[in-house]
Symmetry: C2
Subunit: 304 residues, 2 copies
Amino acid sequence: MWDRLIECVPNVSEGRRRDIVESIAFAADGPGRKVIDLSMDPDHNRSVITIVGEPDGLVDGVLSLAKKASELIDLNVHRGEHPRMGAVDVIPFIPVRGVTMEECIDLSMRVGERIATDLRIPVYLYEEAARRPIRRNLATIRKGEFEGFAEKISLPAWIPDFGEAKIHPTAGVVAVGAREFLIAYNVDLATADLSVAKEIARAVRFSSGGLRYVKALGFPLSEKGIVQVSMNLTNFKKTPILRVFELVKREAERRGVMVIGSEIVGTIPRQALYDVARMALQVRDFSDELILEERIEDALSANS
Amino acid sequence: MWDRLIECVPNVSEGRRRDIVESIAFAADGPGRKVIDLSMDPDHNRSVITIVGEPDGLVDGVLSLAKKASELIDLNVHRGEHPRMGAVDVIPFIPVRGVTMEECIDLSMRVGERIATDLRIPVYLYEEAARRPIRRNLATIRKGEFEGFAEKISLPAWIPDFGEAKIHPTAGVVAVGAREFLIAYNVDLATADLSVAKEIARAVRFSSGGLRYVKALGFPLSEKGIVQVSMNLTNFKKTPILRVFELVKREAERRGVMVIGSEIVGTIPRQALYDVARMALQVRDFSDELILEERIEDALSANS
């Protein structure tokens, strides 16, 4: 495996025709990067492609993918539930291992510049790569969607970060940025009372006074007759998952409700699990060198 | 890295002359295995060599190491605090990844047979590889040490598992076996009262009624003015480390004492940390596929 590892998760506006989505995804493969997952959503008519790789490999891979998507997708005929403004709608870079957020921001700028120059698609930098506070939030950028962007892009506040103030006639515009790994994490509660899940979601989420990097909603799981606090943890390094779980559990206890269990949706980085173990065991002086497999990998790579 | 990974930790009876220990350790290196650590103890006059590798690679490596040790060490002139009976004193095989305990037992038999045949050193199979209950415990086999073994080996109860009932004149005898990974784990308590650490050690350890795979002692940490419960966890799969920690903490609370922190000595397998995270977060349906890096490694190895 690569020592310096970045994940990139382009979302493309086609979730029904498998042949098209696959040829877009496969366009990203090549030296120094690899497509490891492809998830199609027909209702949203949108697909999420997961690519991992080294910085240089990823630049080439993502450009090939964006080129292929702009050739195969025409947003003028695209319909789907999910809001979208581009053939490739959004391209986030996520530091996984041996890479800083700053490097991912640099990478999003390199890719953004090339997309504007080579493909003539206007680019907005978002999240950590945003150059104006109002462009941090993807939903704010995307407002108006493809149909509204022909006009929006001509407003002074919405001049693109790269490219001309004129949408690509079929591929629209694209948001490119950098963000932390997002963990989708749900906690099930031993009650059928939806108000309990909603109250706990309000207590733990940032928007209503809770933890900085938590988004949360309460949902019913009707088949099981229970409710769930469904969360996105947007920065597990600063708001660790064990702290979130313990806060949910404490808030449930306060309401006389037990936690049945929890669920990780998608994937979770190894480091987030190491953090849970370190905190739960109160380990002093924890470091990756304590981990057998890390030591083995270090020893093997030192000599090869 | 190898998909099937075993750790082998030969202990050799030389801990003072670095050149000799290094030439013994380096004899083990070669295709399919790698020496990743070498720890010399001058007081014990004993060294611990850590080798990792695939089954076949390890057989060759361990045989080369045993041969070199038998050429360079003469137990007739060896002195040290630690009890010992052989130039290579003990050779445990430990399953790490993609390997069963049964395969490690097979491996210890293959290596034992070769040591007896090629090097003419009698071999006792111990722990999981033991053929008689009395030979499970290494201390029981080693009783009498090198000096007493010339006589002990001729007793009917102590006929070796491989080789003739006659010690090697300079290299003695060797114990070869298989065991689970051992985690050395200490918990610090906010008290100077040694009796508290000793009571908690008694409460949690197997020998006095505690958890099946825990050995424990209470120690003073005089410089810090506190005490410590020092443990060996001999099977973290069956007695998970979080359960041990929580029991120690509960027993400390019962005595009005706080846990200050804990310490992992040496290394801990990744799986043990995943287990802590799974238990602490109450994750339902946990599997390694949830872990980003495992998914990446699977995807990369599937295509290479």
